[in-house]
């Protein structure tokens, strides 16, 4: 501008040629200035008065509980369909994706598993600057939006709320996410279709997921998995409570190893050392001896097994139950079996949405079961295996491949993913297992299987101290080490039986997932202690 002025002042002094040259330069400068001002206007020109939407968007100050703002009426995304055409509502959610293009910005807002499309278009309410701001909000930031729910003519396939979109009027960033994310939620929630050659094949591997578990857990499948897991626990508690069971809590720091003793974690305990409980078995039995009749417990269980498999964790949640019976341990067997069936039915009926959204990412068949549960004898199982051409002994434990094969055979014949195998050989069970009165080879013990994998192992326990001593000696166990255990039966104890399951394993097998780390929120295995 200043240059232009000078040119005009000195105009008379310069030659004709020079004048021409100057005129050209002036024209150029003029053009330059024009575009510059246009750009400046475009570039929001700061937050100048030209922005008619200022105050309707921006970074919110850190919420320190200053105002209550109770006038803001927040609506969950999943309930927006009831708000169509009813005026302005507030929604808080995460920016799933945000894309500004010209005078419009499309923003997908996510709230847990629900997503909704939001639109900002330049107009009376929204300024260009506001559209630009919305387009630049980093993914995963939390925003408050005031908007009108508007019905759309064609379905929005990419969102869970397909019949409506939000016409945004105000948008404030509550908590901004880093611009660079270690993993993209979209990649982490991409369906696992192995044979899909055309589709995008970007995956997030298991370790990246677990290292950034907070982000990973935001995928719809993970949201569903852990809601379902909570459902398993809740159903387990509800069903057993209804049947007269009492929930007990057992100590996790113990003085002596309860089972075997090889795979326990040692912790320092003041001047001494202690162990982490690898099963609440002893305490369950003591509760029975203390007249609680029917007990269950939900709590952490620790196993110091250095096995890096898809189904072992070093710490998991154990759902254990123990129950006194009158004359036959089948009273307990049927109780446990029916509890499982009731859990499966509860999941099928009340968690259909969660099961479906897990199924969208991990393609698996629905879990099938029979009511009442199918109970086979161990000998029947061996016969089925032999018929299929597998050599296995009468007193031999089921190897993992045989266990899986038997699961497939049972599935082919009875079409059930859950079954109970009763009367295991005595030789392969712990010393406290009650032998079968009719056949010395077998014992009053049982295993339960889901999708061909063992989930529960239980038995009638010996409640007679003398006989328990005898069996312990027979197994070559130092009876002085288990004196306290035996002692607890010396003051009279009803006959009892029980068993325990791993919650993570049950959820994994119910959903048909391939790795137990997918069903543990912060898994612990021999190679992972964080996060």
């Amino acid at each position: 501008m200043v240059e232009d002025k000078e040119n005009v002042e000195n105009g008379e002094q310069v030659s004709k040629k020079g004048a021409k040259k100057l005129a050209k330069a002036a024209k150029k400068a003029e053009q330059k200035a024009e575009t510059a001002s246009a750009v400046a206007a475009n570039n929001a020109a700061g937050d100048s008065a030209e922005d008619h939407a200022s105050g309707r968007y921006g970074l919110s100050e850190m919420i320190q509980s200053k105002d209550k703002r109770s006038e803001r009426n927040f609506v969950p995304v999943s309930e927006l369909s009831g708000q169509v055409g009813k005026g302005l509502v507030w929604v808080r959610g995460r920016v799933h994706t945000s894309r500004a293009k010209g005078k419009q910005c499309f923003l997908i807002l996510r709230q847990q598993s629900s997503t909704v499309q939001c639109i900002l278009a330049v107009g009376d309410v929204i300024s260009k600057q506001m559209v630009k701001f919305a387009g630049n909000i980093p993914k995963e930031s939390i925003v408050d939006i005031q908007a009108k729910a508007v019905a759309v003519s064609s379905k929005i396939e990419s969102c869970t709320e397909q019949s409506l979109e939000l016409a945004v009027e105000q948008i404030f960033v509550i908590s901004q996410a880093k611009a660079q994310l270690p993993l993209q939620i979209e990649d982490a929630s991409r369906p696992e279709t192995a044979d899909d050659a055309e589709g995008l094949n970007i995956r997030v591997n298991q370790d990246t997921r677990l290292d950034n578990r907070v982000l990973d857990l935001r995928t719809p499948a993970n949201q569903a998995i852990f809601r379902l897991e909570a459902g398993v626990c809740r159903l387990f508690r509800d069903i057993l409570t209804e049947q007269g069971f009492t929930e007990i809590h057992t100590p996790k720091i113990i003085s002596a190893a309860s089972e075997g003793g090889a795979n326990v974690f040692t912790v320092s305990y003041f001047k001494d050392s202690a162990y982490l409980a690898q099963s609440p078995q002893l305490y369950k039995q003591m509760a029975i001896a203390a007249d609680f009749d029917k007990v269950y417990t939900v709590g952490a269980v620790f196993r110091a097994e250095d096995s890096n498999t898809h189904r072992h964790l070093t710490e998991f949640v154990g759902l254990d139950l123990e129950m006194a019976f009158k004359y036959h341990y089948h009273e307990v067997l049927h109780t446990i079996g029916n509890t499982f069936t009731a859990i499966f039915k509860g999941l099928r009926d009340k968690y259909a949405r969660e099961i479906e959204s897990v199924g969208q990412q991990y393609k698996v068949d629905a879990f099938k079961f029979l009511e009442p549960p199918l109970i086979l004898q161990f000998a029947d199982g061996v016969a089925m295996l032999r018929e299929a051409g597998v050599e296995t002994g009468d007193e031999e434990d089921l190897s993992t491949p045989n266990e899986k094969l038997l699961g497939r055979l049972v599935k082919a014949k009875y079409d059930t993913d859950f079954y109970i195998l009763d009367k295991f050989p005595l030789a392969i069970r712990p010393f406290y297992t009650m032998p079968d009165p009719n056949n010395p080879i077998y014992s009053n013990s049982y295993d339960m299987f889901m999708r061909g994998e063992e989930i529960l192992s239980g038995a009638q326990r010996i409640h007679d101290p003398e006989y328990l001593m005898e069996r312990a000696k027979h197994h070559g166990i130092d009876t002085s080490k288990i004196a306290a255990y035996i002692e607890s039966f010396r003051y009279g104890c009803p006959p009892h039986a029980g068993g325990g399951i791993g919650m993570e394993r049950v959820v994994m097998l119910y959903l048909g997932l391939d790795n137990i780390r997918k069903t543990s929120m912060f898994p612990r295995d021999p190679k992972r202690l964080t996060p």
Binding site: F344, K345, L370, L374, L409, V410, A412, K413, D415
Partner: protein
């Protein structure tokens, strides 16, 4: 070259008594017989062989490869000498067999097994099949298409054979409905005689299109249709209901086929047409295919229950009378 010493000393081989020498049938032996028959007959077979070898050198040239005269002579000789000895040997073998049989009989008596002779074994009765324990079978049925034949057979075979039915509900069925529950209760009511042979049946209420039966998971070939399950059970069930050997086999199969079609009829008109066909097969007989209750009656009876659209009006008097008779046996 040098001479080899024989490694084995000359043994005097003692032949066991259960063996006998074979006559040397070759032409060389014939030449031997003619030259020194007296010496040969006295010696043992091994000697004979050696002797023949010694004489072979002299006579070999004279005997031609195929001398009909000498052959004839040879046969004559054999017949004359040996028939008697062969007959004697046969006698002896027969006698020994008789002794063996007696011994076995005594052993059997000592063990206390049935004293009957081995004329009719069970293996013979079911067509020479090996008796292996029967595989448990699984029947998948939809609660809307209840396989009443199971209950009918269970009742009809009450005193012959036990069909032990365990019922389950598959997770694909939310509720099985009152009819299926009543059917379950009726199945449980039938008294069980543990002494009778039995087959274990697992009945699973499932959301499936056809009633199907699975006997072995390794050879997964389901049998579809209630009628075919009746055929299977008829084959493994009591002898009185096995129809394959009977002259009525074709008739029973035909009636069962009509039932199969009847169950697949969707309109009332076609159903009535099938009922008319059934009436034609029954005519004035007591039961389908004669005077005895058979699996065909079970099939028809069960199919008619499953077709509530077919009322008494659609049935002929003959069929109604038959139904009354069948009800006494099937008790549904």
């Amino acid at each position: 070259m040098y001479e080899l010493k024989t490694l084995l000393p000359q043994f005097d081989i003692k032949l066991p008594t259960c063996m006998y020498p074979l006559k040397n049938v070759s032409l060389a032996a014939d030449s031997l017989a003619s030259s020194s028959s007296s010496s040969a007959s006295a010696s043992t077979s091994s000697c004979k062989l050696e002797a023949s070898r010694s004489s072979k050198t002299s006579r070999n040239a004279a005997t031609c490869a195929l001398d009909l005269d000498s052959l004839g002579r040879q046969i004559q000789q054999l017949l004359k000498d040996d028939t008697a000895s062969v007959a004697a040997r046969q006698e002896k073998v027969l006698r020994q067999l008789e002794e063996l049989k007696e011994q076995l009989g005594q052993i059997r008596k000592g063990l206390g097994v049935c004293g009957k002779t081995f004329q009719h074994t069970t293996a013979f009765q079911n067509g020479g099949l090996k008796e292996v324990p029967l595989q448990d079978v699984v029947i998948n049925g939809h609660p809307n298409f209840i396989p009443y034949a199971l209950l009918a057979l269970k009742n009809a075979w009450r005193d012959l054979y036990t069909i032990e039915v365990k019922t389950f509900t598959h997770s694909t069925m939310a509720d099985i409905g009152p009819a299926a529950r009543e059917f379950e209760a009726n199945l449980a009511k039938v008294t069980v005689n543990p002494a009778l042979p039995k087959i274990n049946v697992t009945l699973i209420w499932k959301n499936c299109e056809h009633t199907e039966m699975i006997s072995s998971p390794t050879m997964y070939v389901p049998i579809y249709g209630e009628v075919n399950i009746i055929r299977y059970l008829g084959r493994v069930g009591p002898a009185e209901y096995r129809y394959e050997g009977s002259p009525l086999c074709n008739e029973i199969d035909l009636v069962l086929d009509i039932c199969y079609q009847l169950l697949r009829c969707s309109t009332h008109k076609t159903q009535v047409a099938m009922v008319r066909l059934l009436d034609k097969r029954l005519q004035q007989q007591q039961y389908f295919g004669g005077s005895q209750m058979s699996v065909a009656d079970i099939g028809v009876y069960s199919s008619l229950i499953r077709m509530p659209a077919i009322t008494d009006k659609d049935l002929t008097p003959a069929l109604l009378a038959w139904r009354k008779r069948a009800k006494l046996v099937a008790q549904i």
